[in-house]
């Protein structure tokens, strides 16, 4: 009789009995789980202060068994800076939407990276403001229909989407900047590796680490979760190319 090996379990860092409040098939769930898995693997849970942002993931603190602060919309990295400066021995990360990070929070995000704050930011890029009902955001793709671009994003009225990971990489205080995707299981695994790397960079005190995660918003995209992943692959990834844009620990 062979013994069983457990190949999957709910991470310890997930709050017992909690359930995600995300819509069916939303990649936020996968991303939060990956964060929890990495917190487990690096033994960080009890020494972590997480900063939740305003967006679909605002109730992150209901899912993670870690101390958390809810930041005003866009200010998560200012809050994280305050926490880390006050308690440099704590592990500090933010979990933000693309709107939070790159629209209203653009200045805070950029300057946190420039200062090289020793914190980690996870940014969920779902090309829309999910929580408020799917309006056009800083990452909305050209042509994309949203509730505030009913005929699709055109350049004249809306301009272009931002490439977040590239901008972060350009900041001298950034030690690590990567873009990953959750469209397939292999990519989910790569995403986890990137999160882990980012967290390790903070543990080593090397500066700002950043992971942009391409994710779905089936509800506002009005797509099935499956088709939503197709969209990530076919429409998002050609514009927002996954990759590691900066890694000061890589030897090359």
């Amino acid at each position: 009789m062979t013994t069983l090996t457990q190949t999957f379990k709910i991470p310890e860092s997930i709050k017992k009995g909690s359930k995600f409040s995300f819509c069916p098939g939303c990649d936020h769930g996968v991303a939060v789980r990956l964060v929890a898995e990495v917190l487990d693997e690096l033994g960080l849970r009890e020494n972590t202060i997480a900063v939740a942002s305003i967006g679909c993931s605002v109730t992150l603190y209901d899912f993670l068994e870690v101390d958390s602060l809810e930041a005003p919309h866009g200010r998560a990295l200012a809050e994280a800076t305050g926490i880390k400066r006050a308690r440099p021995d704590k592990f500090v990360f933010t979990y933000q939407g693309d709107g939070d990070f790159a629209s209203i929070g653009m200045a805070e995000s950029m300057h946190c990276a420039l200062r090289g704050e020793n914190v980690t930011a996870i940014c969920i890029n779902n090309t829309t403001y999910g929580m408020t009902g799917g309006q056009l955001g800083p990452t909305t793709l050209l042509g994309q229909v949203t509730t505030t671009s009913p005929k699709g994003r055109n350049v004249e009225y809306y301009g272009y989407p931002i490439k977040i990971a590239e901008h972060m990489a350009l900041c001298d205080g950034t030690a690590y900047s990567a873009r990953v995707s959750l469209d397939t299981v292999p990519n989910i695994r790569k995403a986890k590796a990137a999160i882990k790397k980012a967290f390790e960079i903070q543990l080593k005190g090397l500066g700002f680490s950043f992971v942009e995660i391409l994710a779905t918003c089936p509800t506002n995209w009005k797509k099935t979760p499956q088709k939503a992943h197709d969209r990530v692959r076919e429409e998002m990834m050609p514009i927002f190319k996954p990759g590691i844009y900066k890694d000061i620990t890589a030897n090359n």
């Binding site: 009789m1 999957f8 995600f20 069916p24 098939g25 936020h28 979760p225 992943h229």
Partner: protein, 77 residues
């Protein structure tokens, strides 16, 4: 728990977590997951794991894909 569950690869599904997104179904290389008849309190038709031929690989592809940790445990035999 049935004896075979003790020794063979299998998954555990938490019915109250499942939101019926059905992402897991496509993911399983052995097509062991399907939409069932049972409905949970959310009104969702649950995913069922059926593996009469003991094909499950314990690969956890399904659980890795599941956004709601509704596949709470995966075992490899």
């Amino acid at each position: 728990m049935a004896e075979r569950e003790m020794i063979m690869s299998h998954v555990v599904i938490d019915k109250e977590r499942c939101k019926g997104c059905y992402l897991c179904i496509d993911e399983c290389p052995k097509k062991l997951l399907k939409i069932g008849k049972d409905v949970n309190s959310l009104g969702v038709h649950l995913v069922e794991f059926e593996d009469p031929n003991h094909e499950c690989l314990g690969c956890a592809l399904c659980a890795t894909r599941c956004p709601d940790m509704a596949i709470t445990e995966v075992y490899k035999g």
